[in-house]
């Protein structure tokens, strides 16, 4: 695929040992194309881990915080893998390919961590864990035109009947693929898992078919702003070993009522009853400047102002930005941040942007929700 991206003029970026397209031309134009028509993403860096066996469902229930044994074949679920202390090791999409076969999609930077944890945690079950990352390429088509572009190229799949977070085996451009109605952009769309040797054929066919409908190739930069508008967390920004799903506002992903024990249950139950230590919030920045990862969130009007003129502006620290970017859809910079749990909805906030306190407004997540 590298040659394809170079031919399309991509700026490439090193990511978790992969060279991936950051943008082809303008990331803002790519973002808007996904919202209005469609975008095509090469996500072959994502990790794929197969879990197979008669005991695969029970093994997944023990290893992850979700109840994957209840997932029907052909369905997908968003879930997480946590440490004993409840900290998030990665967030995952899990497909149940068959009664005894699951496919776990991990973030590229976490694939080996997730693989090793799954191997260790499933040791007592009738289940085999395989790192299948090199067996799959992943091409995602996202945006309102996706189904119309993909349908004429798809074989053996009823895309119109395919529900969100469902998938099936079939073909795309004549190549075998697992096709699922999933994504990370807040739009309708599909993810096509095919053999790496078929990726260029699938990519080129989708691009040729979709271009007249407004489909453009889109890079990781657009993917990041799309998922931020959609309020979706990113491992390394909103998620990490120092937070539990409850801080991230994703407590519903923890299935305490599933049968049997699971890794992290005790710590997560304690966190559920004591309440999160901080909470993930949306911010709209009242400036053109971007509130970036790590910038402090400040509460104004606390009488603690003592402006030093240095790097940190006055105000009481009440949190930190986890992700920030201009929102092409809303036309203003947006951010997600972890805030102290006692920060009220009417609290005047600002973000310390390189020495200046820039006003910011608490905003409900997600920033963007597609029309159904």
């Amino acid at each position: 695929m590298h040659a394809v991206h170079e031919r399309l003029g991509a700026t490439m970026t090193a990511f978790a040992g992969w060279q991936m397209p950051l943008r082809y031309a303008s990331e803002t134009a790519e973002h808007l194309a996904v919202r209005r028509a469609a975008g095509l993403f090469d996500l072959s860096h994502m990790g794929e881990i197969a879990v197979r066996g008669l005991g695969a469902g029970a093994a997944m229930d023990y290893a992850l915080i979700g109840q994957l044994s209840a997932l029907r074949p052909g369905r997908a679920r968003y879930t997480m893998i946590c440490a004993d202390d409840g900290g998030v090791l990665d967030d995952l999409v899990v497909y149940r390919l068959g009664e005894e076969e699951f496919l776990v999609i991990a973030n590229a930077s976490n694939t080996s961590v997730v693989f090793e944890a799954l191997v260790a945690r499933t040791a007592g079950f009738d289940a085999r864990v395989t790192d299948a990352t090199s067996d799959y390429a992943l091409v995602a088509i996202q945006g309102p035109e996706s189904a119309g572009i993909l349908a004429p190229l798809a074989g053996g799949l009823d895309l119109a009947a395919m529900k969100y977070y469902a998938g099936g085996f079939g073909s795309v451009a004549g190549r075998s693929a697992w096709v699922a109605r999933t994504g990370y952009t807040g739009e309708d769309g599909f993810e096509v898992f095919c053999q790496p040797a078929d990726a260029v054929i699938v990519w080129d066919a989708l691009l040729a078919r979709g271009a007249p409908a407004g489909l453009v190739p889109a890079g990781l930069a657009a993917r990041d702003t799309l998922r931020l508008e959609a309020g979706m967390p990113l491992y390394g920004n909103e998620l990490g070993p120092d937070v539990t799903p409850f801080e991230a506002g994703l407590g519903r992903v923890v299935k305490f009522d599933k049968p049997g024990d699971f890794v992290g249950r005790e710590a997560l139950a304690a966190r559920a009853s004591s309440g999160p230590r901080k909470r993930l919030a949306g911010l709209t920045i009242e400036s053109r400047r971007i509130a970036r990862h790590g910038y402090p969130v400040l509460a104004d009007g606390d009488g603690l102002a003592g402006g030093s003129g240095g790097v940190v502006p006055p105000g009481r620290h009440v949190g930190a930005v986890t992700s920030g970017a201009p929102s092409p859809t809303l036309g203003v910079p947006i951010a997600m941040a972890y805030l102290d749990p006692d920060v009220g909805a009417d609290q005047a906030l600002s973000v310390g942007i390189r020495g200046a306190a820039v006003p910011a407004k608490l905003t409900d997540l997600p920033f963007y929700r597609r029309r159904q």
Partner: protein
């Protein structure tokens, strides 16, 4: 990638256009492409003094924020206020509508602008961007 022959350049990817003792400054097309879509430009205040090689502003893109360095010594006489409303001009037309600020530079002995000796020619700058990949 365009590198106009009549301009002078810095290793930090600014360009300078000199007319008499007036020096116009912007960032190169290469820099704009590397940064991606520019969303905010912070420029020096008119009337302030800038020093060659020292930061005098910021260029913020979707993915990063970079210092803007002055290529010359002198007094800022004008800034491109269009960039406040439309910072994407830096990407679209880096050498023309995307200019950033103008500096009045001291005269050398011959009535020309006194420029730092280490500014790069177009050929030298192009070489630098190629070796950077």
């Amino acid at each position: 990638m365009s590198v106009p022959a009549e301009l002078r350049y810095t290793p930090e990817h600014e360009w300078v256009s000199v007319e008499g003792t007036s020096a116009s400054v912007g960032i190169t097309e290469y820099a704009a492409q590397q940064l991606g879509d520019v969303v905010y430009v912070s420029l020096p205040t008119p009337g302030s003094t800038v020093t060659a090689g020292e930061p005098c502003g910021e260029v913020e893109s979707v993915k990063s924020v970079s210092d803007l360095y002055s290529p010359v010594d002198g007094e800022v006489v004008e800034v491109n206020t269009e960039l406040e409303d439309d910072p994407s001009l830096v990407n679209a037309e880096p050498y023309t509508a995307g200019w950033m600020f103008r500096v009045r530079v001291a005269e050398d002995g011959n009535g020309d602008a006194a420029l730092p000796p280490d500014l790069l020619s177009a050929a030298e700058y192009e070489e630098l961007t190629k070796s950077a990949g």
